[in-house]
Symmetry: C2
Subunit: 340 residues, 2 copies
């Protein structure tokens, strides 16, 4: 199996990427195509004595920066590392692509290079959240800030296929994020999406508030990309605020310090559970290719997790599942649904 790793994606590129390439190619059964500026990458690889590892350098002279306008650069910076890397995927030289770069840039490049799966209105970005009793998939978490009901129906279809593979559940329970559980609650988008999900043939269990999401009531929860993005970022912010307060409090007196020391294993478990590095990356569901986007702050550990996730998706044929699910459903839906 060959996985492309964008060497110029993370905030601190290319060091995290180079270290991740070395570790992943050492510990996982796969080859890495490391795409980026050769002059920066080769000396670093030599320094790490990576000569015998299955890492292949692919030169890409340009970098897509955080400040670049995604849609424009996808066209203008044709030699940016994402574009070059995705072309490898398109040409069948690799099975999945991993980047810690700009999500908008990844989406623009993916749309331009790989395109959408036939029938997909809008690709979506998903996140895997820790919930009571396991994990849940939330989508969209940022690719589409303004959505139509049909987009959310498709998110549910794609999310279900992803959950089957990633969470290993046969008939994933689908929830619709809303400001109340009762049918009829929600904004216009939610109210119009509800009947589509009811008639979708999916295991739709209804509207769902964040407490049911985190309570583990569903395997997949769908929402628009604005709300989903706010939900994920709120979760991170609250988790950080709470750990910061606890840390501050736990160093406030000698007795408490001793207590903190003794109870440290508990905090390690908690930290691991809420650490986005443990999941590593999210796939762009709906793109005709396996593209995984990780956090800009990713370190080597996070990138290795992302590569592992991508390799699992390849092994379990995620792309074919998503295609099948979308195409089976969309062909039965009235063609009267309006598009973009």
């Amino acid at each position: 199996m060959r996985i492309v790793l964008d060497a110029m994606g993370s905030d601190n590129y290319p060091d995290p990427e180079v270290h991740a390439a070395v570790e992943a190619s050492r510990t996982l059964d796969l080859e890495i195509l490391l795409v980026g500026n050769e002059k920066m990458l080769r000396p670093r690889l030599e320094e790490l004595k990576a000569g015998d590892l299955p890492i292949h350098l692919v030169h890409a002279p340009q970098v897509l920066e955080m400040t670049d306008k995604p849609a424009r650069t996808a066209r203008k910076k044709a030699d940016n590392s994402m574009a070059v890397g995705m072309d490898l995927l398109k040409n069948g030289e690799a099975e999945a692509f991993v980047t810690a770069g700009n999500t908008g840039g990844a989406m623009a490049n993916a749309l331009f290079r790989l395109g959408r799966i036939r029938g997909v209105k809008r690709p979506a970005l998903s996140a895997i959240l820790p919930v009571v009793g396991g994990r849940a998939v939330l989508l969209d978490v940022g690719a589409n800030v303004d959505c139509k009901p049909i987009f959310l129906l498709q998110f549910a279809l794609m999310g279900a296929a992803y959950a089957q593979i990633t969470l290993g559940v046969d008939n994933p329970r689908i929830g619709l994020l809303s400001n109340g559980e009762e049918p009829g609650k929600g904004n216009e988008l939610v109210k119009e999406t509800f009947p589509l999900l009811t008639g979708s043939g999916l295991n739709f269990i209804g509207n769902m508030e964040p407490k049911e999401l985190y309570g583990g009531h569903a395997d997949v929860v769908v929402t628009d990309g604005f709300t989903g993005n706010i939900l994920v970022k709120t979760s991170e912010a609250v988790a950080k605020l709470m750990t910061d307060i606890l840390r501050q409090e736990l160093t406030s007196s000698f007795k408490i310090k001793i207590g903190a020391l003794l109870s440290k294993p508990a905090f390690t478990t908690l930290k691991k559970m809420i650490d986005p590095r443990e999941v590593g990356a999210a796939p762009l569901l709906g793109i005709d290719g396996l593209v995984f986007v990780g956090h800009g702050r990713s370190d080597a550990h996070a990138l290795v997790s992302a590569i592992r996730l991508a390799s699992q998706a390849v092994a379990s044929n995620l792309l074919a599942s998503v295609k099948e699910s979308i195409q089976a459903k969309m062909s039965t839906l009235a063609t009267s649904q309006d598009d973009e």
Copy 2:
């Protein structure tokens, strides 16, 4: 000062309300008008030997239940405890109204009985969140699930007036909740609201992600009622998930148990900080009267906090401030802004 307390609001009515009336009238310098079913309330007050306290029973035969459709019952159940209580406010027999009942019901009754402040397009529900270095006001958190840019501008004006009084800041920093800090980020609503806030004369500091909100970068953050509601509920859900995990972990071995015992004061501080009971209630900003709505799960302690908050709002003349702020601004705005 006279405060109306809806005796039939909370999930466990009327016991929390009766206890709160007793405690508030004992410890705060005010009178309570307790509105609800007299037959239920009188024996309970007698049991608590509340005869000498400044609590006045006002009979209301009907109860607005959680399952009632707000708009319909505001009209049909004309003698529900919220309606009767708000009429007291309207007739000048009290200065503020507090309920732990259905938010939609409170809003419908308030619109029907008290009406909007002149110039206000949509009243909003606000929340006070614990943030680094203090507290911040977030609105709307549920009254308007679908919003227009002009609503958000008004939320900012009303939120600023509320923050001046509640947080004691002179020139509150206003943030616009978005999925990225850069101007230009956001969904359509955010993008169209941004220039209105820039030209508002308010201390607008730009788009803001949840991490800046919780990081204490702003005093007031505005968003639509759907997103705001999801943000607040996500915060509660994550806080609960984290404390549950910690509690579980902290009882997992003897050594850790001892540690937990020693570090308990730290958890007490944390719990108090994230406990919604400490704030108690949120005002319906934009209603022509001071109406505070608390959580359905409110206990007596939460209701006393709510009553205290309401009395502070009366003392500092919140209603007049909001009116002044809205009317000064709206008269300078083009009348071309579309309405509902």
